[in-house]
């Protein structure tokens, strides 16, 4: 019997007015799979991630999480159901400390975000978990620093810590290493490689070294449609990919 995909997009379309950005995209992500989504600028990669995470509603098509249709579920609901994400443009709580940034995600995941009678400081296990996650991304020493004062690379790491705090079944990483120095890029690479093996990861990035080092399979998106899907070796050898993406003509 075939294993059911943990996340599945079926004939997904998204149009903004007359501009169609996602065209009949089908994609299946298996539990624990490491998948990369690549494509030239404007290919619709981030839009596709926004459709999967629930930020955008699709014009047509459906999204299934663990076999259940979540197309109509909003972003918050999908997050609760297990779709975690990072953002291409860092999206944090700038005036709050790194610890509080992670704690907020943990509190929502634990379902205590609405609790108004107990002091937040009394949730020992959540604070310990926040400390662990910050330690995991190498930012223990910055736990009490407002994130707006952290360098960009460290802010990207907090994005990942927040995404992990959601205990996702599927993690959508939208250019997690974009625009950061090489040293911190390596840290991000190490963190991504060390992610729990049961989490399916969809990585968007333009860094081919990162993509080919990370991915078991690669999907190439061009003009909002899937051009080709295959193993890194197949993608590297595909002439269409070379033509439209790698610029080898």
């Amino acid at each position: 019997m075939n294993e059911q995909p943990i996340l599945e997009a079926r004939k997904l379309n998204k149009a903004f007015g007359s501009l169609t950005v996602t065209r009949d995209v089908n994609m299946s992500l298996m539990r624990g799979e490491r998948r990369a989504l690549i494509g030239p600028n404007g290919a619709g990669k981030t839009t596709f991630v926004n459709l999967l995470s629930g930020r955008f509603a699709p014009s047509s098509g459906s999204i299934l999480l663990g076999g259940a249709d979540v197309t109509r579920a909003d972003e918050a609901r999908r997050s609760k159901l297990g779709i975690g994400r990072t953002f291409q443009i860092t999206s944090l709580f700038p005036q709050l400390t790194a610890h509080k940034n992670v704690f907020l995600a943990l509190a929502e995941t634990a379902g205590v975000g609405f609790d108004m009678l107990r002091c937040a400081s009394s949730y020992a296990s959540l604070h310990d978990r926040a400390d662990q996650l910050l330690d995991q991304v190498g930012l223990s020493s910055q736990a009490e620093t407002p994130v707006q004062r952290l360098p960009y690379g460290q802010q990207r790491l907090i994005e990942i810590a927040i995404a992990l705090a959601l205990e996702p079944k599927v993690l959508l990483l939208d250019e997690p290493a974009a625009g950061i120095p090489t040293a911190e890029r390596d840290v991000i690479l190490d963190i991504i490689e060390a992610l729990p093996s049961d989490i399916a990861v969809l990585l968007i990035d333009h860094d081919m070294d990162l993509v080919f080092r990370f991915a078991q399979r690669i999907t190439v998106l061009v003009h909002g449609a899937v051009l080709v899907e295959g193993s890194p070796t197949e993608i590297a050898a595909n002439q269409d990919v070379r033509d439209v993406y790698l610029g080898e003509k």
């Binding site: 909003d74 999206s91 944090l92 995600a105 609790d115 108004m116 002091c119 400081s121 705090a165 959601l166």
Partner: protein, 333 residues
């Protein structure tokens, strides 16, 4: 993580230098009591200050903690004031019972308005908040049989507080009664803003889209905050009716909504203690300027506000906080 995970300080996530000593937190309360004992003639003014602090505190939950800027908060204050006054004239004269009813009704009004208004953000919300207050203002203005219209509600006489203390001419009972209510409301607010709910409101203020992405139903969270703020504003309004024995249309006015926002900004929003500084300074300055330069006092008020905006972002507490941090060379939220 080097900080001890089981220490209260570590849990509060404050650098040791920033943990306020308990005595400092007691200063506003002690100052209020001391002013009364040394200058009891100011009891009515202090009572007004307490009521406005409570009102500003309720607005702070929206502006400072949730990032919802309202210019119609008087709608909820006035609802509480009118309700307490009308109920008193119709037989519900017990101060605590009428305060509770006023809170509940203001919360219901806040929930009703909020459930519509909070579907918008920014300028659209601001305009709707002004409209909601204007709507209630006009209703109060026209329904003269119930509200007294332009003349306001007069002849309001509440019974004794807890059946023991009668509101006196000198304002002593009103002073202690409003101080006690303010203290209870403050304790509630302190608990609220330090709860996971309160932290999530700060998250919404900082980045509502990110809060949504981590699983927070932000509309529900904002509506809850709005309803709680409405209840507290209604309580402040009820106190106003009880302590002055009079309810005027002014309690629903745009001017009051603007003034309480200014008081909050002067003290510093999102800091709990901000209204304790902003309200008395605004009210005393207003009193002084109106007395000494009655024709130009609005001008001076404007000059002071401009100075605060340019040189004291985050209000007086923000200014003090920055000075304090510079002294310790620390960063904070």
């Amino acid at each position: 993580m080097s900080a001890p995970s089981n220490s209260a300080l570590a849990r509060l996530r404050l650098p040791a230098a920033l943990a306020l000593p308990a005595w400092l937190k007691a200063v506003p309360w002690v100052a209020a009591l001391a002013t009364y004992f040394f200058a009891p003639q100011y009891a009515p003014l202090l009572t007004q200050i307490f009521i406005m602090i409570l009102f500003a505190m309720s607005l702070d939950l929206l502006v400072g903690y949730t990032g919802i800027v309202s210019l119609g908060h008087a709608a909820l204050f006035g609802t509480g004031a009118y309700l307490a006054g009308i109920l008193c004239l119709r037989g519900l004269t017990d101060p605590l019972a009428s305060a509770l009813v006023a809170m509940a009704v203001a919360a219901a009004v806040g929930f009703a308005f909020g459930s519509l208004m909070l579907r918008t953000k920014g300028l659209a919300f601001l305009m709707l908040s002004v409209s909601s207050a204007m709507l209630l203002y006009e209703i109060a203005n026209k329904a003269t049989a119930i509200t007294g219209g332009d003349d306001g509600l007069q002849g309001i006489a509440f019974s004794r507080v807890l059946g023991i203390w009668e509101f006196d001419f000198e304002g002593t009972i009103a002073f202690f009664y409003s101080l006690a209510i303010l203290f209870l409301a403050f304790a509630f607010m302190q608990r609220l803003v330090n709860s996971p709910f309160g932290w999530s409101l700060r998250g919404i203020r900082e980045n509502d889209l990110r809060m949504k992405a981590i699983g927070c139903q932000i509309y529900r969270r904002r509506l809850t905050a709005y309803t709680i703020a409405a209840a507290l504003a209604g309580l402040a309004g009820a106190l106003q009716a009880q302590c002055t024995g009079f309810v005027a249309l002014n309690s629903l006015s745009f001017e009051l909504s603007g003034a309480v926002l200014i008081m909050l900004i002067v003290g510093g929003s999102g800091r709990l203690y901000g209204p304790f500084f902003g309200v008395p300074i605004y009210m005393i300055a207003q009193d002084y300027l109106a007395k000494n330069d009655p024709t130009n006092w609005f001008l001076w008020q404007g000059v002071i506000l401009l100075a605060l905006v340019f040189f004291a972002r985050g209000g007086l507490l923000g200014l003090a906080e920055r000075g304090f941090l510079r002294g310790f060379g620390k960063g904070t939220e």
